[in-house]
Amino acid sequence: MSLLDVAAIKADFPIFDKKMRNDARLVYLDSGATSHKPQQVLDAERTFYTQHNAAVHRGSHLLAEEASAAYEGAREIVSHFIGADVDEIIFTKSATESLNLLAYSFSNTNRGVFALKPGDEILVSEMEHHANLIPWQQLAKRTGATLTWFGTTDEGRLDISKIDSLISTRTKIVAITHQSNVLGSINPIHMIAEKAHTVGALVVVDACQSAPHFALDVSTLDADFIAFSGHKMLGPTGIGVLWGRAALLAQMEPFLYGGSMIESVTMESATWAPAPRKFEAGVPNMAQAVGLGAAINYLQAIGMEKIHDHEVALTNYALSGLQTIKGLRIFGPLDTVDRGGVISFALDEIHPHDAGQVLDQYGIAVRTGHHCAWPLMRKFGVAGTTRASFYLYNDLSDIDVLIDGIAATQKYFKVS
């Protein structure tokens, strides 16, 4: 078990100076929804506005040059972070936009690998966040393709027992989450991708819950596209990433049309700039991209391996602590094998919303509800769960506070 120096890390995050209800300190267990931002990220955004602000890739003045350098510098940082080529990094506003961009690019064409027709299949899983489910549902509706899905085992892992029938020559897209935002389970992307590639399907990975938490290398992951959001990895809101293989991006149709994404324009028609510009119409979220660059620098200075080890140690500690509580049921694996720092649970006779309300009185921030994974809630027969998720600024004492808070919640509602 190896832990980070959380006191030193917390000192970088101004939000931890905030007093919560009843003067409690902030016990932030909701990084799965969004993470907090260190001073370094806030400073990077501020410096962009105070020193370099200009519309990137336009104008001939010093500020335009500096703004473009800062924005493209952020793209380079992201590309190194995931082991990609710099031109394979598309900035979007969020993972949600990245996935929609991709889904629309499929229905914007009737040629090549992106063309779908009735009889084709799009394979997802029952544990997808709505952001990696609904764009594919709708793509299926637009094209006449069929949506199919992997189920979930009772233990909360991807049920791959039917993979041989689920992936067939009909399969054109496999869109799957790297780590479940509800169960914490980490999916065997490499194995699924290998199988998908033998039938020529494209593999899309929702890396929202993985990129912030462990080292990710697209050169070995075997996916064709990955999507993630800056705000879950210490970066600002309003910035997301879509990575795609260069050869595929070259064939892919744009989704948004407008300024910056063109090569040449007449009154009758237009041609497109090469990727990534082709997919970044309009003045982009520049300060946010720069902030994401600073966030990645911050994470890498600590080290993704160390962050992962830290979270595994926290998860281990939390899983054993939570299991001692009577009337508490965990959804998801009970060990830390292929599992990240997200723990969903239900309390007998206490609705998650009520639990969250009492925990809030102790300064504990958890997420309650369906976590944008409604089909998964149905599978487990609950309306929602309470979810604690960990990051580099959490320590064992946060988990102790959570466990005491749960006991207090049960006492408040006279359940024991």
Binding site: D354, Q357, G369, H370, A383, G384
Partner: protein, 148 residues
């Protein structure tokens, strides 16, 4: 504790022993409402006879606030004329949007004034309103149906 203004004893009583829960077979209108932010759901039946709500029954899942609130509501509107029921619903809606500034008219809302504290917790107002909005929807459908 601040929490006690939210979870009054009478709310927890209704939560543990909800009234009119369990759907009737006879009904004029059935509606199904969900709270998309938390996944709570309610199915509600009303039976109208000559402009009177002669029966209200419901089933659903939700937090203590939403379950207690629908329990109180169904007891309140049971046996009332549609016009009276709409007055009660409007009074409750006003209470919920008061951000803690209103106490609620006890002669009209009875037990439901205990939910006044909910109006200070913006994230919970929707929980309290779920059943009431379902009833209002069903009542309007039923009234318009009766007129035709």
């Amino acid at each position: 504790m601040e929490l006690d203004s939210l979870y009054q004893e009478v709310i927890l009583d209704h939560y543990k022993h909800p009234l009119h829960k369990g759907l009737s077979t006879e009904k004029t209108v059935q509606v199904h409402h969900v709270n998309p932010s938390c996944g709570d759901e309610i199915t509600l039946n009303i039976l109208l006879q000559d402009g009177v709500v002669s029966d209200v029954t419901w089933d659903g899942v939700g937090c203590s606030i939403s379950q207690a609130s629908v329990s109180m509501m169904s007891d309140l509107v049971h046996g009332k004329s549609l016009d009276e029921a709409f007055v009660i619903v409007d009074s409750f809606s006003e209470l919920m949007s008061s951000k803690g500034s209103l106490q609620g008219d006890e002669s009209l809302l009875e037990d439901a004034v205990a939910l006044a504290g909910v109006s200070k917790f913006p994230a919970r107002v929707k929980c309290a309103l779920l059943g009431w909005m379902a009833f209002k929807d069903a009542a309007i459908q039923g009234r318009d149906g009766e007129k035709i």
